[in-house]
């Protein structure tokens, strides 16, 4: 008898291979990095689709399509704003635009082959909402930090929310939304540690500058921004723990994974609880 865990890993590995093959465009890869395949999303969407009655091949293609949507959106986030310094930079920018469009066109084609008009509609709505939320994050001068985090949560959770609603998977909706939000906060924190700042930390620092903390030095602002971020991380972690207690074995796998992610970026849980 096959071990269900092994079957899960085998199925996911199969889709990951399909994804890698789709993303492997030899010319694009001469100038842009291989797109990051978000393993957490792969597992969450896999778990969701396992609860549907779709046939195996269709589940695989659907997962592939959802991942392509995410990768296409992520690719366009990489577009540089500065003037290009050389030919290589120019090619990188041009092909970043085209790679995103190319990955996006593949999701549409795969689902068209299945005549899955409804899911195409759901994903296109999700893409619109995500771009609205990204524009809001990028182009709004926030007065307080709360809406920045709300905005970030929207960006991270719209796709999973729409897919969960599409298949009527309410438990996954709540869990997925919180989980991806949590992961994004951890990523921002990790970037903050490596590069001493991140998009989110910069936004928080800017907000602090415009309100009561305007007398702080830039170092103090950065430090304060990190503290604010940590408090949100702590709060989000508690929510995840609560949700994990109520769901299946697969969800516990995520909890373990989260503990691992937690560990590698060096966050101490007590400290966060205290600050939160």
């Amino acid at each position: 008898m096959t071990n269900p865990k092994e079957t899960t890993y085998k199925h996911i590995a199969g889709v990951r291979d399909m994804l890698q093959s789709r993303l492997s465009h030899s010319y694009l890869l001469q100038f842009i990095d291989f797109p990051i395949i978000d393993e957490e999303r792969l597992y969450v969407f896999y778990g969701m689709l396992e609860q549907t009655k779709l046939e195996r091949k269709r589940k695989e293609d659907t997962l592939l399509s959802i991942m392509l949507v995410q990768i296409a959106l992520d690719t366009h986030d990489l577009i540089s704003l500065d003037d290009v310094a050389n030919e290589n930079d120019r090619k990188n920018r041009q092909l970043t635009v085209l790679a995103g469009d190319y990955f996006s066109s593949m999701y549409y084609q795969i689902l068209s082959k299945w005549n899955d008009n409804d899911l195409i509609c759901t994903l296109s709505e999700a893409i619109q909402e995500i771009n609205e939320a990204k524009m809001s994050f990028y182009q709004t001068d926030h007065r307080t930090v709360e809406p920045i985090f709300d905005n970030l949560k929207e960006i991270e959770s719209i796709l999973v929310r729409k897919v969960a609603e599409h298949y009527g998977l309410d438990n996954w909706k709540t869990f997925g939304m919180q989980y991806f939000y949590m992961n994004r906060l951890l990523l921002e924190r990790k970037q903050g540690l490596i590069h001493s700042s991140s998009n989110l930390l910069q936004k928080i620092a800017l907000t602090l500058l415009t309100v009561k903390e305007s007398k702080l030095s830039s170092d103090q602002q950065a430090s304060k921004a990190k503290t604010v971020l940590d408090s949100y991380v702590g709060h989000a972690k508690k929510e995840i723990d609560f949700l994990c207690q109520h769901y299946s074995e697969l969800h516990r796998w995520f909890q373990n994974r989260l503990e691992y992610n937690w560990g590698i970026i060096g966050i101490k849980e007590e400290k966060l609880a205290e600050e939160g």
Partner: protein, 323 residues
């Protein structure tokens, strides 16, 4: 004949499409809304919606259904222009600042992605599986064509076949898709769908070749930019490909581009002169005319009706246009 005159029979329907276009890109976020409207207000020939509507006249023409396809095709064209301006680092389009120039590259990416998604959503409202299949193949091919175009920049070893494949993906497919989807949405017969698709493909090829000729012959006033813009970007089009096959012109042209002494515009001017003297313009015009003739032959297979006359007039306009 002016495009406006040809469009006269569709005047009311096109006004409706125009207002639908505005409503469709009415995003919540003010910057997203302004950026989408910015390009919309800059105008354009609206050739794709016109092809959709006229093709729909060969079936049961229902404007409420046709509008989804017509608006979607124009939005896809618009979204690709927004992204193209980032690719080309373009400051101006249709006499207005590009979105990337007025805001920045990131705003342009988000706007383009938003508009693309909006277009696809509209097509799903048709609930016609064939529509998704046709459109998704076209969009995929278009994106491959764009990548190929970057890959072929300053590639002096490419041939005419590479060029034709590229312009098919770049331009002809979306026009062919406009005609085919118009026919599909109206429930025209399979044979009519096929002839209209082929008509659109041939017109699209002719349209792009004419565009490529104008890049060598147009004035700043006609083009809104100096001639030779394609060459400046490294895009090797039919007029120069023909010239490169004459005598020793290939090496002459390559030498001009390899010299460090001249400015880019001086290099381009020298190549324009070679292309003109080699007969590259006349050759390209003949090829464009040949595609137009093929388009007319497809029209001849369709039932005689006013829409067929209009399609022929638009095709003729495309072959003779100056901008």
């Amino acid at each position: 004949m002016k495009l406006k005159t040809i469009y006269a029979s569709l005047k009311n329907d096109l006004s409706f499409i125009e207002s639908e276009l505005e409503q469709t890109v009415n995003a919540h976020h003010p910057v997203l809304r302004d950026a989408s409207n910015h390009l919309l207000k800059a105008g354009g020939k609206r050739i794709r919606p016109v092809f959709v509507l006229l093709s729909g006249k060969f079936g049961d023409y229902n404007l409420v259904l046709m509008k989804n396809v017509a608006v979607a095709l124009e939005l896809i064209h618009m979204a690709s222009l927004v992204h193209d301006d980032v690719i080309d680092d373009a400051e101006m389009r249709r006499g207005k600042k590009t979105i990337k120039a007025k805001w920045d590259n990131r705003v342009a990416m988000y706007t383009g992605d938003y508009i693309f998604a909006r277009a696809i959503e509209l097509v799903t409202e048709l609930k016609e599986p064939a529509a998704n299949s046709i459109l998704s193949n076209a969009i995929l091919e278009m994106s491959i064509g764009e990548i190929e175009q970057i890959k072929d920049q300053f590639n002096w070893d490419q041939n005419v076949r590479d060029y034709f494949r590229r312009i098919k993906r770049k331009t002809a497919l979306l026009i062919a898709t406009s005609c085919e989807l118009g026919a599909v949405a109206a429930g025209a017969s399979k044979a009519e769908q096929r002839h209209l698709k082929q008509f659109g493909y041939y017109v699209g090829m002719s349209y792009q070749i004419t565009d490529d000729i104008l890049d060598y012959t147009g004035t700043v006033k006609e083009l809104g930019k100096p001639a030779g813009g394609d060459l400046l970007q490294g895009n090797i089009t039919l007029p120069v490909l023909y010239a490169m096959n004459q005598d020793n012109k290939k090496h002459e042209i390559m030498d001009i581009f390899s010299k460090q002494l001249n400015t880019s515009q001086e290099k381009v001017n020298q190549v324009i002169s070679i292309v003109k003297s080699s007969g590259g313009i006349e050759f390209s015009q003949r090829i464009s005319d040949r595609y137009l003739q093929k388009a007319f032959n497809e029209l001849d297979q369709l039932p005689a009706q006013p829409a067929r006359t209009s399609l022929r007039q638009i095709a003729e306009y495309i072959g003779k246009r100056k901008h």
